[in-house]
Symmetry: C2
Subunit: 432 residues, 2 copies
């Protein structure tokens, strides 16, 4: 039976043990930060030359010149043409569904006019240019390309620039195919902190963007944190998490493999089950034991369950709701008879999967909602990636002469109360 | 005549000089960062005791015990009762207008049902608990309390906790009065990095919050940057900026004092005029000279204009639009005959003030839109503070058995393409 933490909410030390399991420090160590700062400085000051050097050093890829940094769009479209038809169709189905869900997320401009003719409003614009980081190697996920690129395109982003490292020259055809489906505008074969730097500052060849999104390793995360302010970033993601709340009536094999589906992401991933039925918990544990041998990534699953997984017996589903709100999980499966009633009481979760048929994995690929979600309890204040992350607002104020007089009187009192006389005079001029 | 940069877009070095003027490094130096880290660690591990020590050291305020950290609500309400009636009315007028503008910003939950019965949606929740940082001393702005607190309350935040230092015990009555008007729930007399730490981690007396908003000095900004991830933050604000685009037909005194109204904020503030009319630019310069002596903060204005201010002659208003989009200013005044046409072409600005009567200062206090705005070109990707900053989204997915079968087929293909077999099995179970 795979080793996994066993907790019971009736235990005196339950809260302490749970918080210990949830604790996660995303901060990069000082060595990583120092390396990243050096890379950022080098690219900022030396541009292409530095990018080429770091690509040779870190990605074992010697390129003849800066032009070779770009993967031409024809090559990207060729990748799509060359993959098997089932994969082409799956990518197109997923993209269409992600697009359909993204459409209602668009925010629109609005205005209203007051009695004295003053107009107030909010004007929406899409971002001009966005950079999409896509990891290379084993963690290269075409689904991630779709999830990041499609909402940007729905928002109306002017130019979407993808960077993806090709270590030793190895290209991931599915990733390129996904870029073609999503309508990515340009692709560069770079990665690591040097790619983040190139997108943030621009080089002679790679245009500077306004925001950088997409997952990456610890160097990429540290680089994004450093350039935040120069450009926008999506979020600093922690390891993936699933919390399953089950009433004990779902096939235990389904729940076992749902827990595996997060645990297989990486050794730090977190899979937790909350259930009021002690017997059912044992049946899930047995199913995990039975199914683990079928999993190619069994070692990763085993490690992550041992370190951060838990089967937790709760008093009842009401208590499960309270604990779920405390955990604020990235993914929350409500595998119960009446999931809607529970979902209404959940205040903190990235995405909720309601009912026995809604496997979390469907959300990872093609249900429609984004799989880029707040982790490490940040669902207390953060939202899934969406169209709104690629739009921004500007306030509109247009005062009529009468409105300026009326507002000027109030502004003058407050400005003088704050000792800001130029503010007061500026308001008063329009009132005289 | 106050010293100020003079630029002309026809000059060969115009772009370089403009970018040099705009450049702003918000990064705290290593000494500040080290101090802040020590303060954060101390409060995290020693709670109230550390907060009391730092308050004694940095704010010269010895408190008898941790209970004295809180300013009781009765005291807050008393401040409102005790200020002059004109100030009470001004605060209430401003709060009502900020509230009216915030209401249409609320985002609502939505769902849709697909043909096979699968339900997709987005569920909106307000944040549970928010911390509002308010600076003490000379930069204590009651308007800032309203601008941060009112949208949080409109969003439905459960508990709004304000921190404001009272150096040497000195309380700003207008700030407390504004807190009363805005409906702040609790107030603590703490500031600096120790206040940010107390809000982020919680102490025995001060509850941990989910997000921290509000302006502060370099230590507060550095502390917010450090705790970002543990809690949400609003933004790392740079110095205030105004860009005025004028056709040369507005009273030059109005424009002069509009420029002053940003310049008086602090020595790093930035005030820039774009105008196609060289004579008019001279008239504004003359008006600045005439009015400067009337300004109590003339020295700050003089320093900020000399360092970062500019009068820029442009070829025409079309060129002014392009430059405005490059600058992406916090505040943009369009002091021209037909401001709407220009505003439509502005993609990057925090707030736009249309027409000759719309002084930027009206927006600082009471027009309605928020005065917490993206600075330092971050309007390229960021928005004004709003109700949406105190709400968050959770995705909803509820698959029908048929929907699970259909989606499972697509998810299985993509999961196997990514080598994630637990994901594939989890999807396939529901399709069998």
């Amino acid at each position: 039976m795979p080793e996994i933490h066993r907790l019971d909410t009736r235990d005196a030390d339950f809260a302490t043990r749970l918080d210990a399991l949830l604790a996660w420090e995303s901060v990069a160590d000082e060595r990583v930060t120092a390396t990243v700062k050096d890379v950022l400085d080098a690219v900022r000051t030396r541009g292409n030359a530095a990018v080429l050097e770091f690509t040779a050093r870190f990605d074992r890829l010697e390129l003849p010149d800066a032009a070779a940094l770009e993967i031409p769009l024809e090559r990207v479209r060729q990748a799509f043409a060359d993959i098997p038809a089932t994969q082409r169709e799956a990518l197109e189905t997923a993209a269409a569904r992600i697009r359909a869900y993204a459409e209602p997320q668009k925010i629109d401009s609005w205005r209203y006019t007051e009695a004295d003719g003053t107009v107030l409003g909010q004007q929406i614009s899409a971002l001009d240019r966005v950079g999409l980081y896509v990891p290379g190697g084993k963690a290269a996920y075409p689904s991630s390309v779709l999830m990041n690129a499609v909402p940007a395109k729905v928002a109306g982003v002017g130019e979407l620039i993808m960077v993806v490292p090709t270590p030793g020259g190895e290209v991931n055809e599915l990733v390129l195919a996904a870029a073609a489906v999503a309508g990515v505008d340009r692709v560069f074969r770079i990665g690591g902190a040097q790619a983040v730097a190139a997108l943030a500052y621009g080089t002679e060849t790679i245009p500077a963007v306004d925001k950088i999104v997409g997952p990456g390793n610890i160097y990429v995360a540290a680089a994004k944190r450093e350039v935040y302010g120069t450009v926008g970033i999506d979020m600093i993601a922690g390891p993936s998490e699933i919390l399953v709340v089950c009433d004990g009536q779902t096939d235990p094999h389904w729940i076992a493999v749902d827990l595996f589906s997060q645990a297989e992401h990486d050794e730090d991933a977190q899979a937790i089950l909350l259930c009021p039925d002690a017997d059912y918990i044992e049946r899930v544990a047995a199913a995990m034991d039975e199914l683990l041998t079928e999993m190619p990534r069994a070692e990763i699953i085993r490690t992550s369950l041992r370190a951060r997984g838990a089967l937790i017996q709760v008093r009842d589903l009401d208590e499960a709701v309270d604990i779920a709100n405390h955990i604020a999980p990235e993914h929350l499966e409500l595998s119960v008879a009446e999931p809607e009633a529970l979902a209404e009481r959940i205040h903190h979760a990235g995405a909720m999967f309601l009912g026995r048929y809604t496997a979390e994995a469907l959300g990872d690929y093609c249900a429609g909602p984004n799989h880029v979600l707040p982790t490490s309890r940040t669902a207390r204040f953060a939202s899934p990636l969406g169209v709104y992350d690629f739009q921004k607002r500007a306030s509109i104020i247009q005062c009529s002469p009468e409105g300026a007089r009326m507002l000027g009187a109030t502004a003058s009192v407050l400005a003088r109360g704050e000792g800001l006389i130029a503010h007061a005079r500026s308001a008063e001029y329009r009132s005289e």
